[in-house]
C-alpha cells in the first residue's frame, strides 16, 4: 500500500508554523493543549512526529471538553438503557420513546466559560449549539429550558452578566421560533466569578426516523453546509478546559447568527426527511475537527477532506485555522452518492451555502489535503477512541464542610417575626418570581405550550397527538457541596418529582455536570460521589441518563464553584386531562401533604441565610420512599382528584404553600399536628427542605380517602388544612405561628427581581 507522504515542511498557508521538530524541541504542544505525556503518546501512535495541524487535532480532541478524559470512567456508572431509550449517550442527543409512534430527542449542554467572558454571545451560542444537536437527530425542536447560576445581584458585574445572558438566550431562542418554556435561576456567592449557563433543547420526531452522526458508505460525498468558516472561536474547546474565565480571551468566544441557525434548521430537517442523508453532525466545539473525526469514528471508517474547498470568510486561512475554527451555524453532512442534487436544491431554496469538501473512505484515517499536499494523516481511532482516559486522584473521603458550621438558631419571636422570615425567603432571588427572566423569552411560539415557566414543570403538547411532554431542570449546588452523593441523588429525585407534580411519568434525564478543577483531589471526590448519587437515583426512579455533558474547571481566582450537577428531566403525559399546575385552583379545597413531616434544616436556604454559609448535611432523602411518593402522586393525578400540586423544595413547606397561594390568588390555612419544642423545631417545620414531599390541592371529600390510600402505599400523608381567604396562615397544635397577607407575600415574591435589577417600570403587568 502506498505510503501517503505527509507534508512536513512549510507549504502554502502554513508558513510561520513550527516544524514537527520545533513542536517537540520548543514544547509547542503545550500551547495546543497537550501535556508532555500526551504528546509522547501521539508520537508513539503515529510512529513519527506530528506536524502542527496534526498536533492541533490531537490537542482539541484530547481536550477535557471533547474527550471527557477525566470523567469517562465515572460516567460509565450511569444507567443509560431501558425499554424507553431509543438512543443513549454517544450521539448528538439522546432519544426516548414517548408512545404514540413519537420519540423525543433532548440534551443539555453548558456554555459557562464563554458566558463568563461575553455573556450575550456566550449564552446565545449555547442555545444555538444545543439546538443543532437536537435537529441533527432529525427531531423538530419544540422547547428550550435554561438552568442558570450567578453570584449575588448586589454585584454590578453579576447584574451585567445576568441581564446579558438572559438577553442572549432570548436573542437566539426567540428568533429561531422555539419557545423557552422553563428552567431555573439561582444566585449564590459561589458563582460570582463563574456563572453557569446550561441550555437544554427538546425535539420531537417519528420514533422510526432517527438520523445519526455517522459517516458511512465508502465514496459518499461530505458537505459543509451553512456559515462560512472564519477565524472566530479557534481554541474554544481547549479554552473551556482551562481555568479562570477572567484570564480567557474574548476573541475565543463565537458569535451567533440565529437567522442562519433558523434557516439551517429548516433546511436540515427538510434534507433529512428525503432519506438521502447518511450522516449529519453539528460543527460545535472543535468545529470541523470533532465533527469529521467523530462521524468517521462512529462508522468505523475514515474521511478525506480537501480543505481548499471549505468556504472561508477571509483569505489566507491555514488548514490549522480551518480545522479548529468554531464559527457557528455550520453542519457536516454525508449524503448518499448520486443524490447530491437533492441537497443542492433544498439548500438553495433556503439560501444556504454548501460545498462538497471530501468523501468517506474505508481506511480508518482522517486525511486532510490542502494546496496539493496532504497536511494531516492520522488514524481516526487514535483521535477519538484512543483519547487518554484518566482516573484522576480523588480524596479518600469527602470532608462535609457543613457539619462543622455552628447550627444557627432563630430567635424565638412573635408571629410577625416568623412572617418576616417567610417574606425574606420569598424575596430571595433564588426563590422569587422569575417573570423578570421569562417575560424576555418567547414562551408561546409554536402554540403548544400548555404550561410555561413558573410551575413545577413545563408542559408542551406534541404535534398531532393527544399527549404532552413535561420538562424540568433541577440542581442544587448547596446540597451537593454539603454532601455530594446525596446532593447528586436529590438533583435527579427533585427533577423527576417536578414532572410527577405536573401529571407526568418520568422517562429519562439529561445532565450538565458543572464542577471545579478536576486536578484537585477534593473536586474529583465531589464529582465521583455526585455521579454515584445520581446513578442511584436514576436506578431507583427508572430514569436513565441518555445524554449530557461535563464542564470542569469552573473555578476562578482559586475558588471552585459549588459542585453543581444540573438535571434536565423528561416525562410523558399520556392524557391531557392529567396536566396539573402548582397554582391553587379554588377556595375550600383540602391541602394534603404527601411525604413526611420533617424539621431537619440541613442544607436549607433558611440556614444558609442565618449562618452566612451552607450548614449541616444535605437534606434528608430516602430513595425508596421517594419512589413510592412519586408513584402515588402519579396514580392520584390519574384518578382526577388532584386540582394542583407542588413539590416542596427551596424554602420548605411554608414557601411551597405560599407559592401555590400567590400563583392561584387563593389563600390557605394549615395546621401541622405538632407542638414544636422550640424555635429551631418550629423553623424546621416551616422551612425544612427534606425531600420526597409534594403538596396537593384536592377536593375536601377526597382528602381522607387519599390519606388512607397513601398509608396503603407506604407513604406518610396528612390533611394539613384548606384553601381560601386572602392570607397564608400556618400553625401547629400550639396555635397560629404566622399569618402572611397574600398581598404582602406577592409584593415580596414578585418585586424582588425587578427591584434587584432596577428594572424599567413594569407597565403592562399586574401591580406588584
Amino acid at each position: 500500500m502506498a505510503e501517503v507522504r505527509v507534508q512536513t515542511k512549510a507549504a502554502a498557508g502554513t508558513s510561520g508554523q513550527p516544524t514537527p521538530q520545533e513542536i517537540r524541541e520548543q514544547r509547542r504542544y503545550l500551547e495546543l493543549g497537550l501535556t508532555e505525556a500526551e504528546y509522547e503518546r501521539v508520537c508513539e501512535r503515529l510512529g513519527r512526529l506530528p506536524n502542527y495541524v496534526e498536533a492541533g487535532l490531537f490537542g482539541v480532541l484530547w481536550s477535557e471538553h471533547c474527550s471527557y478524559k477525566s470523567s469517562k470512567i465515572h460516567l460509565r456508572k450511569f444507567p443509560t438503557s431501558g425499554p424507553q431509550v431509543l438512543q443513549g449517550p454517544g450521539e448528538n442527543a439522546g432519544v426516548v420513546d414517548v408512545g404514540g409512534g413519537l420519540a423525543v430527542a433532548f440534551k443539555m449542554e453548558s456554555h459557562n466559560h464563554p458566558s463568563a467572558v461575553e455573556p450575550y454571545q456566550g449564552a446565545a451560542t449555547g442555545v444555538g449549539g444545543i439546538l443543532r444537536d437536537v435537529f441533527t437527530m432529525g427531531a423538530r425542536p419544540i422547547a428550550f429550558l435554561d438552568s442558570l447560576r450567578f453570584g449575588p445581584l448586589t454585584d454590578d458585574r453579576t447584574r451585567y452578566l445576568f441581564a446579558n445572558v438572559v438577553a442572549g438566550i432570548g436573542g437566539y431562542g426567540n428568533c429561531v421560533g422555539i419557545p423557552t418554556v422553563g428552567g431555573e435561576t439561582v444566585f449564590d456567592e459561589s458563582y460570582r466569578h463563574n456563572p453557569l449557563v446550561n441550555a437544554m433543547c427538546v425535539g420531537v420526531l417519528e420514533a422510526d426516523k432517527m438520523a445519526k452522526g455517522a459517516a458511512r458508505g465508502v465514496g459518499n460525498p461530505v458537505f459543509v453546509v451553512g456559515a462560512r468558516t472564519g477565524r472566530d472561536g479557534i481554541h474554544g474547546a481547549t479554552f473551556a478546559s482551562a481555568e479562570d474565565p477572567t484570564e480567557k480571551e474574548r476573541s475565543a468566544v463565537q458569535v451567533g447568527d440565529p437567522f442562519l441557525g433558523k434557516l439551517l434548521m429548516e433546511a436540515c430537517l427538510e434534507l433529512i426527511a428525503t432519506g438521502a442523508v447518511v450522516g449529519i453532525q453539528d460543527m460545535g466545539a472543535a468545529g470541523l475537527t470533532s465533527s469529521s473525526a467523530e462521524m468517521a469514528a462512529r462508522a468505523g471508517g475514515g474521511l478525506e477532506l480537501d480543505l481548499d474547498r471549505v468556504p472561508v470568510r477571509e483569505e489566507g486561512m491555514t488548514p490549522y485555522e480551518m480545522m479548529l475554527s468554531e464559527s457557528q451555524e455550520r453542519m457536516l453532512v454525508v449524503m448518499e452518492k448520486g443524490r447530491e442534487e437533492l441537497a443542492f436544491s433544498i439548500l438553495c431554496k433556503w439560501g444556504l451555502e454548501v460545498a462538497e469538501i471530501g468523501r468517506v473512505t474505508g481506511d480508518g484515517r482522517l486525511r486532510l489535503r490542502f494546496a496539493g499536499e496532504v497536511v494531516a494523516d492520522v488514524p481516526v481511532a487514535a483521535l477519538v477512541d484512543e483519547a487518554p482516559v484518566y482516573d484522576r486522584p480523588a480524596d479518600a473521603k469527602y470532608v462535609q464542610p457543613g457539619l462543622t458550621v455552628a447550627k444557627p438558631e432563630p430567635a424565638a419571636g412573635d408571629a410577625d417575626a416568623w412572617a418576616q422570615y417567610l417574606l425574606t425567603l420569598l424575596a430571595h432571588p433564588s426563590i422569587a418570581d422569575k417573570r423578570w427572566v421569562y417575560r424576555q423569552y418567547d414562551t408561546s411560539v409554536r402554540t403548544a405550550t400548555q404550561v410555561g415557566p413558573g410551575s413545577d414543570a413545563a408542559v408542551v403538547r406534541l404535534p398531532g397527538a393527544e399527549r404532552a411532554v413535561a420538562l424540568a431542570t433541577d440542581g442544587n449546588g448547596r446540597y451537593v457541596y454539603l454532601n455530594p452523593r446525596r446532593g447528586g441523588a436529590i438533583a435527579v429525585a427533585e427533577a423527576a418529582r417536578n414532572l410527577v407534580a405536573s401529571g407526568a411519568k418520568p422517562l429519562a434525564i439529561t445532565d450538565c455536570l458543572n464542577f471545579g478543577n478536576p486536578e484537585k483531589p477534593a473536586v474529583m471526590r465531589q464529582f465521583i460521589d455526585a455521579v454515584e448519587g445520581m446513578a442511584e437515583a436514576c436506578r431507583a426512579l427508572d430514569t436513565p441518563v441518555v445524554s449530557g455533558n461535563v464542564s470542569f474547571y469552573n473555578e476562578s481566582q482559586g475558588q471552585d464553584i459549588f459542585p453543581t450537577p444540573v438535571v434536565g428531566a423528561l416525562g410523558v403525559i399520556e392524557d391531557l386531562a392529567h396536566v396539573t399546575e402548582s397554582a391553587f385552583c379554588t377556595a375550600d379545597s383540602a391541602i394534603v401533604l404527601v411525604g413526611p413531616i420533617d424539621s431537619a434544616l440541613d442544607g436549607s436556604l433558611f440556614w444558609q441565610l442565618l449562618a452566612g454559609q451552607p450548614a449541616g448535611d444535605a437534606p434528608p432523602l430516602d430513595l425508596a420512599l421517594e419512589r413510592r411518593v412519586q408513584d402515588l402522586v402519579q396514580s392520584l393525578i390519574r384518578t382526577g382528584r388532584v386540582r394542583s400540586a407542588h413539590d416542596v423544595s427551596d424554602g420548605g413547606l411554608a414557601v411551597a404553600l405560599t407559592e401555590m397561594a400567590i400563583a392561584g390568588g387563593v389563600g390557605a390555612e394549615v395546621t401541622l399536628p405538632v407542638t414544636p419544642r422550640d424555635a429551631l423545631e418550629r423553623a424546621g417545620l416551616l422551612f425544612s427542605e427534606a425531600q420526597s414531599r409534594i403538596l396537593l390541592e384536592v377536593d375536601g371529600a377526597s382528602a381522607e380517602v387519599i390519606v388512607q390510600e397513601a398509608a396503603q402505599a407506604g407513604v406518610p400523608a396528612l390533611v394539613l388544612g384548606k384553601t381560601g381567604g386572602d392570607a397564608v396562615i400556618i400553625g401547629g397544635d400550639d396555635g397560629v405561628w404566622l399569618t402572611l397577607p397574600l398581598a404582602s407575600a406577592r409584593a415580596a415574591y414578585e418585586g424582588a427581581l425587578p427591584q434587584a435589577m432596577r428594572a424599567p417600570s413594569a407597565r403592562g403587568e399586574a401591580d406588584a
Binding site: 428568533c175 437567522f259 431554496k349 418567547d442 411560539v445 409554536r446 402554540t447 424599567p760
Partner: protein, 237 residues
Amino acid sequence: MRWAVIVFPGSNCDEDAALAIDRVLGDPVDLVWHDRSDLSAYDAIILPGGFSYGDYLRSGAIARFAPAIAGVRAAVQRGALVLGICNGFQVLTEAGLLPGALLVNDHLQFRCELAELRVENAETPFTLDYAPGARIRIPIAHRDGRYHADAATLSQLQRERRAVLRYVQNPNGSAQDIAAVLGANGRILGLMPHPERAVAEWMRSTDGARMFTSMHRYVEQQGASLAASAEGVGRLG
C-alpha cells in the same frame, strides 16, 4: 374562503397561523413561499410573526422587497383582506401599506406576556365578532413593538377610528397605546399581539379566535368568494 400565510426566511409563526385557521374555521389555508407574487387565489392573506431575514437592518425592512409583497398589493387592490401579525405588521409599515413604524420597546427588552386590549372599533372586517369596547386578552411577543407615527397621522388614525386595538396597560411605549392599525381602505390590519396564540382554552385565552371568525364572516358576507369571481374557479371552503 381560502387563506394564504406568507413564509419569509425567518418567519416562525407561519405554521401557528395556519393551525389557528384550521382549528378555528377549518378553512383551506396554504403556506406560500415569499418568492411567489401571484396571490390571486386567496381571499385573505396573513403576514405572520417571526424574524424575517433575522430582522437585520430593521424589522421587516428586507421582507418588504419580496415578490409576495407585490402580490399583497395586488390582492389589496382586488379587495382581499390582509392581516399582518407582529413581524407582519412591521413588514406592512416598512412596505408603506400601513402608516407609522414600530420601534424598539421603550424598555429595550423583548416582552412576552398575555396583554389586555380594548377593542376600539368593532366595525372592521377584522373585529366584527367582538363587542365594541370589549376587553380581550391576546399574547404579545416582541422587542420592536413600540408604535410610532407623526402627530398628524396619529390624529388621523384617531379621527378615522383606525387604531382598532389599544393596550389597557401599555407594554412597550406605543404612541396612544396603539396595538393595531387599520389601513385607509379598511382591508389591511397590522397588530403586534398574536391572535393565533389565543384560540383554545388551554392557551389561556380564546379571544384571538374572533379575529379569524370576523374575517371569515366578512368575506362570506361579500357574497361569492373574491377569488372565485376573479379566477372563475369553483368556490373553495
